[in-house]
C-alpha cells in the first residue's frame, strides 16, 4: 500500500520519472480508475511534476482496468515515442475482500524505436462485462459472483482475444514463454493456458501475491516482470482485462531499461505492524484527528498559475555566480548578489541532498505521525526546508543522504483539492526481509 501522501498521480510520476531521464517523449499518457481529480487532466499535472515541456501531448485514460494496456497499444500502433504511466490507489472498505486484495501501485512503459520488446500481434475485444464496478455513489469496488465472471471471461473474452492475438502475431500458443495476464477472477489463466497449451506461468498472479491487485497498473507492472524473466528472442503475452480484453504479443529483442528494477521493487517496503494503521492509511476507518487537524490548507489558482509549475517540478534557479536556490527570487539569496536578476531554471527533483537539520515532530498534525522535517542541502548550493518520508526504523540522521520523491503536499478535503511537492526520502528503500 502507498503512504498517506501518495495518490495515482504521484505514483505515476514516480514510475515515469526514470523513463524521461534521457529525452522527453512525444506524448505522456496517464491511466487510472482512481485518479483523485475528475476534471483536471492528470497527465498534465504529471507533466509539471516531471518538468516536461508543455508542447508534449497529454491524455488521460480512465474507467477501465485495461485503460493502461489500451493506451500502450495505441502508442505502439502509432509507432510514437510515448510514456504511458498507469497507477491505482482504490478506495476499499473493511469487510470487503478488496480491502485485503487491492494494492496501490504504478507502472510506466516507454514506447518508441529501438531494441527492447517488439509488438508482433494484438487483438482487442470490447465487451461490457460487469464483473465489478465503482461509481460516484459507490466509490468502493462492488464485485459480482466469481464463478459467473470466470466462465464468461474465459469463454467470451480471454480465449478468443488471445487466440486472435497469437494468429495476428503468427506464432503458436506454445511459443509464449512468459505471460502477464490480468484475470478478473482466480483460475482464469489456469483454464485458458491449459486450453491453449501455454506452459508459461502468469506474472500477474505473482504480482498479486506480493503487491495485491494493482488495477490499471497491474498488467503493465507484470509486463515488466515478464520481460525481465524472458530470454532474448522469447515471446511474451500481455493481457489487460476490464470492459473487454486487450491481448498483445511481444518478442524480446533486447534488455528493457528499468524492467529489472520493477521486479526488485517487490522485495522492498515496510511491513505494517498494526491493523489500525492499515485501516487509517487506506481510509478504512474515520479517525478523529483533533483540533490540530482543523486548519484549511487552501491553494489559490492564481498562485498555482504563477509558480505552481516550479513547485510541482521542484525547479529552482541558478544565479549569475553559479549558486542554485529554491524557490527562485528576484534578488538572489546569494549574499554576493544584491540586485534583481534572472535565474536559470535548475530542477532539484533528480538531485540527492544531505540532511542539515531535522526533527520528528509529534505535535503537528499528520495522518501518519511523526512529522519528520528539516533542512536539506544540495551540492549545487540549494538549501530547502523539506518534509521527510519513508522514515527508516531508526529515524533520519544529520548528514544522511536523501533522494527526492513526489508526494501530496496538502489536502483540503472540504474543497476537494490537493497540491503536490517533493519530499526527502532515504536513497534506498528498505528490504522487506522475512519478517
Amino acid at each position: 500500500m502507498a503512504g498517506w501522501d501518495e495518490d495515482p498521480l504521484t505514483m505515476a510520476a514516480e514510475a515515469a520519472r526514470v523513463l524521461i531521464a534521457d529525452s522527453p517523449p512525444e506524448a505522456l499518457r496517464f491511466a487510472s480508475t482512481s485518479a483523485y481529480f475528475t476534471d483536471r487532466g492528470q497527465a498534465g499535472a504529471m507533466l509539471d511534476i516531471l518538468a516536461l515541456p508543455r508542447h508534449i501531448r497529454t491524455s488521460d485514460a480512465a474507467n477501465s482496468r485495461r485503460a493502461g494496456t489500451s493506451a500502450l497499444l495505441e502508442a505502439l500502433l502509432g509507432q510514437r515515442e510515448e510514456v504511458i504511466a498507469a497507477a491505482e490507489k482504490r478506495e476499499t472498505v473493511p469487510g470487503n475482500s478488496a480491502n485485503l486484495s487491492f494494492g496501490d501501485g504504478a507502472a510506466a512503459v516507454r514506447t518508441g524505436v529501438g531494441k527492447g520488446a517488439q509488438l508482433l500481434g494484438h487483438a482487442t475485444i470490447t465487451h461490457d462485462l460487469v464483473d465489478r464496478y465503482s461509481s460516484r455513489e459507490h466509490p468502493a469496488s462492488y464485485s459480482y459472483e466469481e464463478r459467473f465472471i470466470r466462465e464468461v471471461a474465459i469463454a467470451e473474452l480471454l480465449l478468443p482475444a488471445i487466440t486472435a492475438a497469437l494468429d495476428n502475431a503468427g506464432i503458436a500458443a506454445g511459443d509464449i514463454a512468459q505471460a502477464a495476464v490480468a484475470e478478473p477472477a482466480g483460475g482464469c489463466w489456469a483454464a485458458v493456458s491449459r486450453k491453449l497449451g501455454i506452459a508459461a506461468s502468469n506474472h500477474c498472479a505473482t504480482l498479486e501475491e506480493q503487491a495485491g491487485d494493482l488495477g490499471v497498473a497491474h498488467p503493465l507492472y507484470a509486463l515488466g516482470m515478464a520481460l525481465t524473466a524472458a530470454a532474448i528472442g522469447e515471446h511474451v503475452l500481455l493481457v489487460g482485462f476490464g470492459s473487454g480484453v486487450d491481448a498483445l504479443v511481444f518478442r524480446k529483442d533486447g534488455e528493457i531499461p528499468g524492467a529489472a528494477e520493477m521486479a526488485e521493487a517487490l522485495s522492498q517496503g515496510e511491513r505494517l505492524e498494526r491493523i489500525t494503521r492499515f485501516l487509517s492509511l487506506t481510509g478504512g476507518i474515520e479517525m478523529d484527528w483533533g483540533m490540530r487537524a482543523e486548519f484549511a490548507q487552501k491553494a489559490q489558482a492564481t498562485v498555482l498559475e504563477r509558480v505552481g509549475r516550479d513547485m510541482a517540478g521542484f525547479v529552482g534557479g541558478r544565479d549569475s555566480l553559479g549558486n542554485v536556490q529554491f524557490p527562485k527570487s528576484s534578488i538572489p539569496v546569494n549574499p554576493a548578489l544584491n540586485r534583481p536578476e534572472e535565474l536559470v531554471d535548475v530542477r532539484l527533483a533528480e538531485e540527492n541532498g544531505t540532511i542539515v537539520s531535522l526533527t520528528s515532530d509529534r505535535l503537528n498534525f499528520t495522518p501518519d505521525p511523526p512529522f519528520d522535517f528539516g533542512l536539506v542541502q544540495f551540492a549545487n548550493g540549494a538549501r530547502v526546508l523539506m518534509e521527510m518520508v519513508d522514515r527508516p526504523p531508526e529515524g533520519f540522521t544529520i548528514g544522511q543522504e536523501v533522494c527526492m520523491r513526489p508526494r501530496i503536499k496538502s489536502l483540503n478535503r472540504a474543497l476537494g483539492f490537493r497540491t503536490y511537492f517533493w519530499k526527502a526520502a532515504p536513497v534506498a528503500r528498505p528490504q522487506l526481509g522475512d519478517a
Binding site: 483533533g290 483540533m291 490540530r292 486548519f295 484549511a296 490548507q297 487552501k298 491553494a299 489559490q300 498562485v303 498555482l304 504563477r306 509558480v307 505552481g308 513547485m311 549558486n323 536556490q325 529554491f326 524557490p327 527570487s329 539569496v333 546569494n334 549574499p335 542539515v356 537539520s357 531535522l358 526533527t359 520528528s360 515532530d361 509529534r362 505535535l363 503537528n364 498534525f365 511523526p370 512529522f371 522535517f373 528539516g374 533542512l375 542541502q377 548550493g381 540549494a382 538549501r383 530547502v384 526546508l385 523539506m386 518534509e387 529515524g395 544529520i398 548528514g399 503536499k409 496538502s410 497540491t419 511537492f421
Partner: protein
C-alpha cells in the same frame, strides 16, 4: 555610524497582567489591565499619551487587525496608534516604535502595549493557518517545537556533545525557570518541577519533551515612555532608560543558502552585536547583570546564551549546569520564569521581559530581586531558527 537611542528614552511606567488561561477576560480587558497599571505607575492620565504602538502577532484570533482594537479598548482619543507585528518579537517591536517616536522628538509621551488572547482556540500551542500563498505549496507545516528542536540536533553535531548530555542541560534550563516562576505572582505556571520529571516528559518534537516547551498564554504588558528630562520633571530622580534596542531580520540565507549549520541563530548574534555597540557595552559577560530571553524552548535559551556572547561557543551546557544562569548565578536568566513559566502571550512577551528588567532595575523585584542590577538585557525571537526576527534591548538607569 548613527548615535543610537542610548539614554534618550526613559520608561516611567509599566504594567503587566497576570498571564495564563484567562477565561475571565477578553483582549480588550487584558489591554486595559496592563495600561491601567502602567498609568498608575507613571502617575499619568491616558489623555497625556500622544502616540501608541500596539503589538499583536495573531490578529485573526480574538484581537483583530489594525490599531482600532487597542484604540477602542483604551479609548485613545484620536491620537496616532500603530499596530505592529513581527511574529514572537512583536512585543519588543512595539517598544521600539514607541521609543523611536520619543527619541526623535516626534512626541513627548508614548505608549507601547502588547497583547495576545490565544486560549480561546481550545488547545496549547499556536494555531496553523494557510492562505494559499507560494510558501504553502512547498514549505512543511512544522510546529514551533519542531522547528526549534532542530537546533538541538545541529548543536550536538557542531560541538560533538552527546544528546543525553545536552538534554540534561536543557532540562536544567526548564528546571530553573520553574523554580523562578514559582516566585512570580503573575506567572502562568507557578509550580517547581523536578529534573527527572522534565527529562522523562513525553516527546513533543525530538529531542524536546513537553517540559522543554513553553506553552502559550493570554496576557498583555505595557510601557509608557518619555524623555529623561520629562521623567525627572515627574519626580523620578534616576529613571530607567533604554540603552539600546536592536532588531535583526533574516534575509533568508539560513534557510536557503548553505553556510549555516543550524546550531545558532544568526539574527540574535547580529542584533546583540549592534545592541552592545549602541549601549556602549564592551564585555557583556561582565556588564550584563541579568537577562530575560526568548526561551520558547529549553534549547533556544541554551543557544541564545552563546549567541548573546554570554557563554563561549560550545560552553553553554556546562555554564547552565554550573548554575551561571540560575537566580543566584552570575547572570541570572528568566528571574520571572520566562516564556516557559511566566507565559507567552506572543505579542506581549517582549514587553513582559522589559517589565521584569524595569522592576529589577528599580529594585522592585520582591523575593526575586537581585542586587546590583546595572544592565538588564531582553531578547525576543520571532519565527524559527532558520528564518527569524531577533530583537535585543538593553535597559539601565541614569542619574
Amino acid at each position: 555610524m548613527a548615535s543610537g537611542i542610548r539614554d534618550k528614552v526613559a520608561i516611567v511606567g509599566m504594567g503587566c497582567t497576570r498571564f495564563g488561561e484567562r477565561w475571565d477576560i477578553g483582549a480588550d480587558g487584558l489591554m486595559v489591565e496592563a495600561f491601567a497599571e502602567a498609568l498608575a505607575d507613571a502617575g499619568l492620565g491616558s489623555e497625556q499619551i500622544e502616540a501608541a504602538w500596539v503589538g499583536n502577532a495573531l490578529d485573526d484570533i480574538n484581537v483583530g487587525n489594525s490599531a482600532l482594537p487597542a484604540a477602542h479598548a483604551l479609548r485613545l482619543a484620536r491620537i496616532p496608534v500603530t499596530r505592529v507585528e513581527n511574529m514572537c518579537a512583536t512585543g519588543t517591536e512595539a517598544l521600539r516604535g514607541a521609543a523611536y517616536a520619543v527619541a526623535s522628538g516626534a512626541v513627548d509621551i508614548a505608549l507601547a502595549i502588547g497583547v495576545e488572547k490565544l486560549k480561546d482556540t481550545g488547545y496549547g500551542g499556536l494555531p496553523l493557518r494557510t492562505k494559499g500563498v507560494q510558501n504553502d505549496l512547498w514549505m512543511p507545516y512544522g510546529s514551533a517545537p519542531g522547528t526549534f528542536a532542530q537546533l538541538a540536533h545541529a548543536y550536538s553535531a557542531r560541538h560533538g556533545i552527546d544528546s543525553k548530555d545536552l538534554k540534561r542541560a536543557m532540562a536544567h534550563v526548564s528546571w530553573k525557570s520553574h523554580q523562578n516562576g514559582a516566585k512570580a505572582t503573575k506567572a502562568h505556571l507557578r509550580k517547581p518541577v523536578e529534573l527527572d520529571t522534565i527529562l522523562n516528559a513525553p516527546l513533543i518534537a525530538d529531542p524536546l519533551g513537553v517540559l522543554d516547551c513553553c506553552g502559550v498564554s493570554d496576557g498583555a504588558a505595557a510601557a509608557i515612555l518619555t524623555t529623561p528630562e520629562i521623567a525627572r520633571s515627574l519626580g523620578i530622580a534616576s529613571p530607567v532608560t533604554i540603552k539600546a534596542i536592536q532588531l535583526a531580520a533574516s534575509d533568508g540565507a539560513e534557510m536557503q543558502y548553505g553556510a549555516w549549520d543550524g546550531a545558532s541563530v544568526p539574527t540574535t548574534q547580529a542584533a546583540a552585536r549592534r545592541a552592545y555597540a549602541e549601549a556602549g557595552i564592551g564585555d557583556p559577560k561582565r556588564e550584563i547583570d541579568m537577562t530575560e530571553v526568548h526561551d520558547c524552548f529549553s534549547i533556544t535559551e541554551l543557544v541564545i546564551m552563546e549567541d548573546l556572547g554570554l557563554s563561549d561557543p560550545g560552553r553553554a551546557p556546562a555554564d547552565i549546569l554550573d548554575g551561571r544562569y540560575d537566580a543566584e548565578g552570575a547572570i541570572p536568566c528568566q528571574l520571572d520564569g520566562g516564556l516557559k513559566c511566566f507565559g507567552h502571550p506572543v505579542g506581549a512577551s517582549g514587553l513582559r521581559m522589559a517589565y521584569e528588567a524595569y522592576n529589577q532595575l528599580l529594585e522592585r523585584g520582591g523575593e526575586r530581586q537581585r542586587p546590583n542590577i546595572r544592565h538588564a538585557l531582553t531578547h525576543n525571537l520571532g519565527g524559527a531558527p532558520f528564518n527569524s526576527v531577533a530583537a535585543v534591548a538593553i535597559f539601565g538607569r541614569i542619574d
